[in-house]
């Protein structure tokens, strides 16, 4: 029980009349890397955005580190939590976006230390030490004072990973982190992610990179039409998928 980091139960979400998530349940334990694959429009991205409450869920529940995300129990009903509490919950969850979303008016280092200094209240010198160490870990020790506009896409995404790691989150979410990158720089981002996975970071990765899923994932889940339809080890997935939809999907993209 204690080593469950993320627990999602019967998550439903609609945009207007379009039901995007039709009851998704998933559990991720400490140190696990889970890859979510599936065709576009299957709800992968929506699901991962629900985990840090960038999207509000309509029903079901999501817990991270034992805390209910985005809602609190009141008289047996779930009501949306206060902004301050939601913000606090998000400090336990690192998010890496498809389009990096670095702060363009801040240098690489300033991007990384923004949350430690201005959200967690870490003393600046300490945060700078941490920030430089993290930028070193993603291979960008020499780009500390560079603004995002002067970095390549791969470098920007690695800064974004360092920024998310800076809060020491219990869970890292990656929303198609390489989909907006030029092919020649995808490798550098994936190798940083593989290194994180190997170091025991708990990660949920929405990805189309089957090579990464095969190499780094402990578990792969397939989503289709708002549901988790198949779940298993990478070996199971890439050698003997059982579900017809999974076979179709994999045959198309492999």
């Amino acid at each position: 029980m204690t080593d469950v980091v993320m627990h999602a139960e019967e998550v439903h979400k609609s945009f207007g009349r379009l039901e995007v998530l039709k009851g998704v349940s998933l559990e991720v334990t400490k140190g696990e890397t889970v890859c979510i694959i599936g065709p576009s429009g299957s709800g992968k991205t929506t699901f991962i955005r629900c985990i840090n409450h960038l999207e509000k869920i309509d029903s079901g529940r999501i817990e991270v580190n034992g805390h209910l995300i985005g809602y609190r129990q009141k008289n047996g009903k779930l009501v949306e939590d206060s902004e301050r509490n939601i913000a606090r919950q998000r400090t336990e969850i690192g998010m890496v976006f498809q389009r990096f979303n670095l702060f363009p008016h801040k240098t690489a280092l300033e991007n990384v230390i923004e949350a430690p200094v201005h959200v967690l209240g870490t003393p600046k010198e300490q945060a700078v030490g941490l920030g430089k160490a993290l930028l070193g870990r993603v291979g960008l020790a020499d780009k500390v004072d560079t603004y995002p506009g002067k970095l390549s896409g791969g470098q920007q995404q690695r800064v974004a990973i360092a920024r998310a790691l800076a809060m020491g989150p219990a869970l890292m979410l990656f929303d198609e982190p390489t989909s907006a990158l030029d092919p020649e720089v995808i490798g550098e981002v994936l190798s940083v992610m593989e290194e994180l996975a190997a170091a025991g970071t708990t990660m949920i990765v929405v990805t189309h990179e089957m090579g990464f899923a095969r190499k780094a994932a402990n578990r792969v889940v397939m989503m289709d039409d708002g549901l988790l339809i198949e779940e298993g080890t990478p070996e199971h997935f890439f050698e003997a998928p059982t579900h017809e939809r999974t076979k179709q999907f994999l045959s198309k993209i492999l």
Partner: protein, 259 residues
């Protein structure tokens, strides 16, 4: 007394290069009325812009009505109404007295300016990519903190150029408060004209308005340069190029000329 081209150089020379104390006080009035009104206008505009984007419908309506009224009626009418409909105190800071009319003028100019600033600030905030707010929230920021630290600093780059225009207009529009009896630069010229019938007093203050707006142009350019710091690459700044032009050796300190 004057020919067709009636320029009394003496008056202009006096007013521009040897301004007397009375004139300097009116110049100061013009400066402080425009600076305070613009600053308050920006604050009002920001509040109205945030209200316009609020999830709470009544706030959006209030913001809409505010802009509708104050952009849709003449500034002069607003100034008269604000001055005559309410009673305003005279503020005395000891060394500096702000008369009631000046306060009414500042209030009217601020409220009017806020209505224009709202649209400018909203356009600035809209210009910031939506992903920025999401990224800020993901690292644990509340809406307010994300606005202050992430969104507004980026919006500023879009806001400052039109804000500069607004302030330029503001400095000239302050002359309207002469009509409710504020003794500012235009009032000074008008008073001297009606005493001596020398139109060059107007020309002299025109020179002063031009000096004020020109100084502001330089300040604005400086602010815009500061704000675009993150976009500048390794190319040399204007000042560095200037330094290089008379001291080529300075380049060595930066790693040579061919960087």
């Amino acid at each position: 007394m004057h020919g067709l081209v009636a320029v009394d150089l003496h008056v202009i020379w006096q007013q521009v290069f040897h301004p007397n104390n009375v004139f300097l006080r009116t110049l100061w009035a013009t400066v402080y009325i425009s600076v305070v009104s613009q600053a308050a206008g920006v604050v009002l505009g920001l509040l109205a812009a945030l209200a316009r984007m609020s999830r709470f419908a009544p706030l959006r309506w209030i913001s809409g009505v505010y802009v509708w009224i104050f952009r849709g009626t003449p500034l002069l009418v607003q100034i008269f109404y604000v001055y005559f409909a309410f009673s305003w105190p005279t503020l005395n800071f000891g060394f500096w007295t702000v008369p009631d009319a000046a306060i009414a003028g500042i209030v009217a100019l601020s409220i009017n300016e806020g209505a224009y600033m709202r649209e400018i600030i909203r356009a600035g905030i809209d210009s910031v990519d939506r992903g920025q707010m999401e990224a800020a929230k993901s690292i644990g920021m509340t809406y307010g903190k994300a606005m202050r630290r992430i969104i507004l600093p980026q919006a500023a780059r879009v806001i400052v150029p039109p804000l500069g225009n607004e302030f330029n207009n503001m400095m000239k529009n302050t002359s309207l408060v002469y009509t409710i009896g504020v003794f500012e630069m235009f009032a000074y010229a008008e008073q001297n004209y009606s005493q001596f019938f020398i139109a060059d007093y107007f020309l002299a203050i025109a020179v002063w308005y031009l000096i004020l707006t020109t100084v502001w142009t330089f300040i604005q350019a400086w602010i815009e340069r500061r704000l675009s710091e993150s976009e500048r690459g390794d190319e040399l700044s204007f000042r560095e190029r200037l330094e290089l032009s008379w001291n080529p050796m300075a380049a060595w300190g930066r790693g040579g000329l061919n960087r």
